[in-house]
Amino acid sequence: MIAALLVPTATWYLVLSAILFGIGTFGVLVRRNPLVMFMCIELMLNAVNLSFVTLARELNDINGQTIVFFVMVVAAAEVVVGLGIIVAIMRNRSSVTADDLIELNG
């Protein structure tokens, strides 16, 4: 009875990915360092990947794993461009928080 209850089902994985997504959201909303905000976006992407793989197994469909592959490629490109932008912005600046980017403030 207890052994049957302790087998992780798809809902466990999906709830774990929801919690991971929530932690990532909290980090993006709260942290000030743009690099750490980027890491929190990676957390959210990984939560989505985890739920894709879980649903691929649950639905018995390989397309779920295929789209995770594409999400990884796009995430790699996004990190490259994002870090390039951060380097270009932050090169001549001593402060590192996102609040200091107020040149367009009227």
Binding site: V15, A18, F21, G22, G24, L50, L59, I62, V68, M90
Partner: protein, 182 residues
């Protein structure tokens, strides 16, 4: 056994994720991110996505985190951020409400909608002695290079655009700088 694997991986994921958002030092946050990414890779293996687990470790835990650490060192921003002060009033309580509400909505959707999941695919090959040890990789490759070959080619264009754009972004334009300084 599966419960034990799930518990350990979930613990790794959650400890790493909390570390990313609570460590004030960006290098520590990046190393916590590695812990989370390894935990996700373990769960990929537990769900028979072996190729994706390998890619997760190589691309995410390898390349992307190294890129993060490289940029942290390049910018010299490996400084401790003061997390005690709260620049915007009531931002953190509101953020807690938003993220908890998001988790609640997602969990409610998963628990109520799990009955709507029907097996609709043609099956995932699980590597064993009869199908060969690379069944997952073979099946994923057949899916990518037959059904999604156009998307795969477009992805290569995306990567070229990303690389060229990053080179342009991070290049110092010497001639313009010299003219403006005259």
């Amino acid at each position: 056994m599966e419960f034990f694997v799930f518990g350990c991986a979930a613990l790794m994921i959650l400890v790493g994720a909390v570390g990313v958002i609570t460590r004030s030092h960006p290098v520590h946050a990046a190393l916590s991110l590695v812990l989370t990414l390894f935990g996700v890779a373990v769960l990929f293996v537990a769900q028979e996505a072996h190729f994706l687990a390998a890619v997760q470790v190589i691309v995410y835990a390898g390349a992307i985190v190294v890129l993060f650490l490289f940029v942290i060192m390049l910018l010299g921003v490996d400084r401790v951020e003061n997390l005690r002060t709260e620049p915007l009033t009531a931002q953190r309580p509101l953020a807690i409400i938003v993220s908890l509400g998001l988790i609640g909505i997602l969990v409610a959707a998963f628990t109520t909608g799990s009955g709507a999941l029907h097996e609709r695919g043609e099956g995932i090959n699980i590597p064993d002695l009869s199908t060969g040890t690379d069944a997952n990789t073979t099946q994923l490759a057949e899916s990518i290079f037959s059904d999604y070959v156009v998307a795969f080619e477009v992805t290569s264009v995306l990567l070229v655009v990303a690389v060229v754009g990053t080179v342009l972004l991070s290049r110092r334009i010497k001639s313009v700088a010299a003219e403006t300084s005259k």
